[in-house]
């Protein structure tokens, strides 16, 4: 194949720098301006595409890029069918349900009135509340869910947290964990067939350098 193998990396957010570091650790040094969307890589077989974090799984599913680095939470939220070739070991976090400190609610089971839930993860939230037999009005929002309870937009939120610090600072208390996540190397199923050798080589290198 003549074209380069495309790797999608989050363009912003907590995963961007560790992803770039992981690539540099195995000798894939990124060249090019920080503002452009495509970066050349020291190994001419690859190129890096900066993509919105939420869209990495989608790009991989449709084959717009061959490989991607994305949190497990987003792989499930976007309901994609991709190969999850490697747990990269960084970006560990939990997807949690949180309520304001002063709320009476101690657990999802103790909810009596149908709550409004603000979240960037509508699919996983709906599934979680459904699996516990609880109705909830899911408000799909973008950006900071933490603010929603204080504004009176929602009674609780579903969001990811690493240390719980941001939640605490916003006066929120965790009442349930939906899942544990970390950053994964994902791959388009057809691309894996076409570039199998190169991709396997990359997986082995990333695995060996994983901290």
């Amino acid at each position: 194949m003549s074209r380069k193998i495309r790797i999608a990396v989050p363009s912003k957010g907590r995963l961007r720098d560790p992803c770039i570091r992981a690539l540099e650790n195995i000798g894939l040094n990124l060249r090019g301006e920080s503002r452009s969307y495509i970066a050349e890589v020291s190994d001419p077989r690859f190129e890096v595409i900066y993509t919105r974090t939420f869209d990495v799984p989608l790009c991989v599913h449709y084959g717009a890029v061959d490989l991607g680095m994305a949190g497990y939470d987003l792989i499930l939220e976007r309901q994609v069918e991709v190969y999850e070739l490697l747990d990269l070991g960084f970006g560990k976090c939990r997807l949690v349900v949180a309520v304001p400190e002063e709320s009476e609610i101690r657990s999802i089971e103790s909810i009596s009135v149908m709550p409004r839930v603000a979240t960037e993860y509508p699919n996983l939230s709906r599934k979680h509340f459904g699996s516990l037999g609880k109705q909830a009005e899911i408000l799909a929002i973008r950006g900071t869910a933490e603010l929603a309870p204080r504004l009176g937009l929602a009674e609780m939120i579903v969001d990811i947290t690493e240390t719980g610090e941001t939640l605490r600072r916003n006066g929120l208390r965790v009442i349930d964990t939906i899942l544990e996540s970390s950053c994964r190397l994902i791959c388009n199923k057809i691309a894996y067939r076409v570039f199998e050798n190169e991709i396997n080589e990359l997986v082995v290198k990333l695995k060996n350098k994983r901290s």
Partner: protein, 362 residues
């Protein structure tokens, strides 16, 4: 699936695929037909729900079913037709990956895992999460023989390499049979001279429960979605009435194939049909022109008398080739506007039709 109630309270559904409806028709309406039976369809199907990520709710499938034969030759015929359909469409670098629906089921059965762990196992394999798969095998102390088979099958890419694996699996009788079945099919495909396009992919499951034998899927590079697939389903037809008939079939996603052609730079040819627009303030004369052209089997439209739309602009937007401006009669010469060359000329309508005939004959 889209499911609803009709006016009698009966539950009805829109077909999510064609194989199951065909299986029903085979037992209820076509049971006396000589077998093997070869059927094809090009149909719209409807899907609703989470599992189908490509959110198109109505799309087209083109497929075939070969009913009443379970030989490797029948499998070979279906797979070879599958590949030649895609090549005939004009697609290049077509590749087919195949697996056997029984292989994974049997291997999982031999592990003695619980239902829940089996489905976890299946998910990890389908997402090629080899690391977690290995730790799962450690956790449940799966026997080294099964582990080895698992790894060999996961790493196997060409059907040829299955021969060595089959040799090592004589202890697992059923597994051994499935592998030999794939090898026989491989032989048939080699005789069809398409062995080069065929690969093995253990993680291929197609997500359909009714498959019992070989399953397969087609793809082209630079298009991240599979174009379609199929497989052998020997137990499906009997579910509709006890008639035990083996069968194999495949379906191609029509929209996916079009998308794939697009990514390979294929341009659909323009329609060669000549279209004409009649513009006139005089209805009687315009109708005479329309009748004359339509009698000559030429496609023409009448621009409404009171239309404010500029007929030339309309013709350009709608892919019309000529606009004929008719005045009070079609006896006198008319102005014919040629959209492609953006030019007007005055001519008699009979001469124009004749020139059109000459142009169409080319």
């Amino acid at each position: 699936m889209f499911k609803f109630q009709d006016f009698d309270g009966k539950i009805v559904a829109l077909r999510p695929e064609m194989t199951t409806p065909i299986a029903r028709i085979i037992t209820t309406k076509m049971f006396s037909m000589p077998k093997p039976l070869r059927l094809f369809y090009i149909c719209n199907v409807f899907r609703y729900g989470q599992s189908h990520f490509e959110k198109m709710r109505e799309f087209r499938q083109a497929g075939v079913e070969l009913i009443g034969s379970n030989t490797p030759e029948a499998d070979g015929e279906a797979i070879s037709l599958f590949i030649s359909c895609l090549k005939t469409l004009g697609l290049k670098s077509v590749r087919v990956d195949l697996a056997h629906a029984g292989l994974l089921k049997q291997l999982l059965k031999d592990t003695n895992l619980s239902e829940e762990n089996m489905s976890l196992f299946r998910r990890l394999l389908a997402t090629r999460n080899m690391e977690q798969l290995e730790s799962l095998m450690n956790k449940f102390s799966i026997s080294s023989q099964i582990r080895e088979l698992f790894l060999q099958l996961s790493n196997c890419k060409k059907p040829e390499s299955l021969a060595a694996i089959a040799k090592n699996s004589t202890k697992f009788e059923k597994l051994h049979d499935f592998l030999n079945n794939l090898l026989e099919i491989r032989d048939v495909l080699n005789e069809y001279k398409i062995g080069d396009s065929v690969f093995f992919d253990f993680s291929l499951t197609r997500g359909i429960e009714y498959y019992t034998g070989v399953v397969f899927e087609a793809s082209v590079p630079n298009m991240g979605l599979s174009l379609g697939g199929g497989g052998r389903y020997d137990n499906l037809i009997e579910k509709f009435g006890g008639l035990k008939v083996p069968a194999i079939g495949f379906a191609l996603g029509v929209e996916k194939c079009l998308l794939a052609l697009n990514t390979q730079g294929f341009v659909l040819p323009k329609s060669s049909e000549c279209k004409i627009l009649i513009a006139s303030k005089n209805r009687k004369a315009a109708m005479e022109a329309v009748n004359l052209l339509r009698n000559g089997r030429i496609t023409c439209l009448l621009n409404p008398e009171n239309s404010n739309e500029d007929p030339i602009r309309y013709a350009k937007l709608c892919g019309i080739n000529y606009v004929i401006f008719v005045e009070s009669s079609i006896e006198s010469p008319l102005i014919v506007y040629d959209v492609e060359s953006d030019s007007k000329k005055r001519t008699k309508i009979e001469d124009f039709i004749e020139s059109l005939g000459a142009a169409l004959r080319i």
